[in-house]
């Protein structure tokens, strides 16, 4: 894992140096789901820093809330009118946005999907993202290995993102189940698994309030839940509060995905057992460099080997490592955390 990170960092510097030559006069757009989530705030910081370094003008746009599709379409239209060379996009509605994306590509703009793949994934020229399935698989494998033989009788709560099943939520969910050793059914949907160890799926909207309510609902179905998968760390913090209110916070294993600073701190405090950390800063700066490269010589970025997107890396953060699952310590996770 560390090797991959070091590798991408090296690649970053190399391509940065190459693009440095003639980045001037180039405009790029960054369109995020919201500008309030720390993940996107960090992404914007990364993009701004890289743009400044390369002498590119970067315009940032964002929807008002997660799911605000219209604002994103308007932002793409603005970028086309502006004559931008490239667009970095984290789409709210991954399939509906493709028409607007196609317009931009027809206008000769390089469109890179950041963090969230479009549906279909080849609707964008390239995708720079966390391998969300791998992120889920890591925490699933870690949870199963930590429980040992007890994993065979686990009572699992699945705290997902939203009923509309956005790809990022499905990938993490299904990755977790695969890592834990549960038969997936259709890997493009969560909730169709037959395994009796799964108590149920509930949606959290990815925040503390939703996490707590969802956990309470599942505890009402089965109070003996002992493994909790959560879509992200705020949802995990909410689930922990629900468990604490019935005095079960110490005998339940919570795993999560994100690697935000409060989340990593929660791993240190034992609230979360392990979390898969992703790297929004790197994602954004790589994206800006790819646009500079494209503007200079027309190179379109290529996906990572064996994947249909460019993997910006993921690492399991825990202080109780298990055999067979690579992980980094909380101290290392804290150095790289965002938000």
């Amino acid at each position: 894992m560390k090797k991959l990170l070091a590798g991408t960092a090296l690649a970053l510097m190399a391509s940065g140096g190459a693009a440095m030559a003639d980045g001037h006069g180039v405009t790029a757009c960054l369109i995020t789901k919201t500008d309030t989530n720390p993940f996107f705030v960090k992404m914007r910081e990364g993009a701004m820093a890289a743009a400044e370094e390369l002498g590119i003008t970067l315009n940032a746009y964002a929807g008002q809330v997660d799911g605000d599709h219209e604002t994103q379409v308007a932002a793409i239209e603005t970028c086309i009118a502006d004559g931008a060379s490239g667009i970095l996009l984290t789409a709210s509605d991954t399939s509906a946005i493709t028409t607007a994306v196609q317009q931009a590509r027809d206008a000769g703009i390089l469109v890179i999907a950041l963090d969230t793949p479009l549906d279909p994934i080849d609707a964008a020229d390239a995708t720079f993202a966390t391998d969300n399935f791998e992120a889920g698989r890591l925490i699933g494998a870690w949870a199963a290995a930590s429980m040992g033989d007890a994993a065979a009788d686990a009572r699992i709560a699945m705290l997902d993102l939203a009923v509309s099943q956005p790809t990022v939520g499905v990938l993490r969910d299904q990755g977790f189940l695969e890592g834990f050793g549960i038969d997936l059914g259709d890997p493009n949907r969560w909730g169709d698994e037959e395994d009796p160890r799964i108590v149920g799926n509930a949606v959290t909207a990815g925040n503390e309030e939703g996490g707590r309510t969802a956990m309470e609902e599942l505890l009402a179905i089965d109070p003996m839940i002992n493994v909790v998968y959560t879509i992200n760390e705020p949802a995990a913090a909410g689930a922990y509060e629900a468990l604490r209110s019935i005095g079960r916070e110490n005998d339940v294993l919570i795993v999560s995905v994100d690697g935000g600073c409060p989340g990593v701190q929660n791993v240190a405090d034992g609230v979360i057992g392990a979390t898969s950390q992703q790297y929004p800063l790197l994602m954004a700066s790589l994206g800006v460099q790819a646009i500079a490269q494209f503007a200079a010589d027309g190179t379109v970025p290529q996906p990572s080997e064996g994947l249909d997107f460019f993997n910006t890396g993921v690492a399991l953060v825990t202080d109780t490592p298990v055999d067979g699952v690579d992980s980094v310590s909380v101290a290392e996770g804290t150095d790289l955390c965002w938000g």
């Binding site: 309030t36 989530n37 720390p38 705030v41 809330v65 009923v163 149920g200 509930a202 949606v203 925040n207 503390e208 309030e209 996490g211 707590r212 309510t213 309470e216 609902e217 505890l219 009402a220 179905i221 109070p223 705020p234 913090a237 909410g238 922990y240 509060e241 604490r244 209110s245 019935i246 409060p262 701190q265 929660n266 405090d269 609230v271 938000g339």
Partner: protein, 352 residues
């Protein structure tokens, strides 16, 4: 005294009772209509009991102390905000900024403690004042500037929410930090048990708040003024009610109650999270409407709102325990809202 001046004897056969609204229509439907007109919280109470019975029969684990008290815990935030919403709607207004005021107040409580190092008690007081101030701005714009409440609070919703995100930088304050340094912020999350049922101070606060407001609205001059202003502001003005002052007091009180909801929110989710409560305005209006409060003002009881919030909670958990898709909850709540307003229109005809 001659016979011509004996007016008293001339009037001796006249009716002596005071002018009254005699209910001469006696069909069962009219009786129901009349009963509902007199006691507007009756409909939601019946629906609440019916839904409890229905889910008790069809959903597993529903009639357990855990599930039943869980409903109370899950509706406490919406319930408190809906109490604030009720006051505003009784004056024929609407407050779209309730959720935003709640979140901003909780953020002020958290950030004042952790960013500026103020004693948590002072930070809580600042948070409560922040809520009351937002409410005052709403009230001033509605009562003095005569702007429509819908527009004023639509604007304030955006302003307060943006302030919240700008000020907090969307940073969450972790539950563990609050517990270690400022446990008073989590006061409303304190639990106690009565025979296997778990209650929190937040739930107790909700119940007390509803009781106090029910008393104030029914038995104090201020409460009657609130109804009068909602029913017909001009008539109220002519009868000597200070409409402006009453409206400002209602919006300020609403803001203050929202700030308390923000405090209770910290107790519920443990942490201070600027992204919480995004839909509290819609959820509170839902509870108010299902609770039988007339959106045209001047009619309804705060107990109805309490029942309305509980109905939403019962449906949400009950359907969940039956294993239904979450969308069914929204669909059924939509049906309830329209039914509630239809019943309200029907009751209004009793006076026509």
């Amino acid at each position: 005294m001659n016979a011509q001046d004996d007016y008293e004897s001339a009037a001796k056969d006249a009716a002596t009772n005071v002018a009254e609204f005699a209910d001469t229509r006696k069909s069962p439907i009219h009786r129901i209509q009349h009963a509902l007109h007199v006691t507007p919280s009756l409909v939601p109470l019946v629906v609440l009991i019916a839904s409890l019975v229905m889910f008790g029969i069809f959903a597993n684990n529903f009639f357990t102390p855990f599930a039943l008290t869980l409903i109370l815990q899950q509706v406490q935030i919406v319930g408190i905000v809906a109490a604030a919403q009720t006051l505003v709607i009784l004056t024929a207004g609407i407050d779209l900024s309730v959720g935003a005021i709640m979140v901003l107040s909780s953020v002020v409580m958290g950030q004042f403690t952790f960013r500026y190092g103020l004693p948590p008690e002072v930070a809580v007081a600042c948070g409560l004042m922040c809520g009351a101030l937002c409410g005052f701005i709403n009230g001033f714009l509605v009562a003095v500037m005569k702007l429509p409440p819908f527009i004023v609070t639509l604007g304030m919703w955006q302003i307060v929410l943006a302030t919240n995100f700008l000020y907090s930088k969307n940073e969450t304050i972790r539950s563990q930090d609050i517990e270690a340094n400022a446990p008073i912020l989590q006061f409303f999350g304190t639990r106690f048990e009565i025979g296997g049922a778990v209650f929190t101070y937040g739930v107790v606060f909700l119940v007390i708040l509803v009781m106090v407001l029910a008393y104030a609205l029914r038995h104090t001059a201020w409460g009657r003024h609130v109804y009068a202003v909602g029913d017909d502001p001009e008539a109220a003005e002519l009868s000597g009610v200070n409409v402006r002052k009453t409206l400002i007091s209602v919006y300020m009180l609403s803001g203050l109650i929202c700030a308390f909801a923000g405090w209770a929110l910290i107790g519920r989710i443990g942490s201070v999270s600027p992204t919480s409560g995004q839909f509290a305005n819609i959820e509170s209006i839902t509870a108010v409407v299902i609770g039988g409060i007339s959106l045209f003002g001047g009619r309804g009881s705060i107990l109805g709102t309490f029942f309305g919030a509980l109905i939403v909670g019962v449906f949400t958990l009950g359907l969940r325990l039956m294993g239904a898709d979450a969308q069914w909850t929204y669909l059924l709540i939509g049906v309830l809202i329209i039914t509630a307003v239809a019943v309200d229109q029907w009751i209004r005809k009793v006076s026509a």
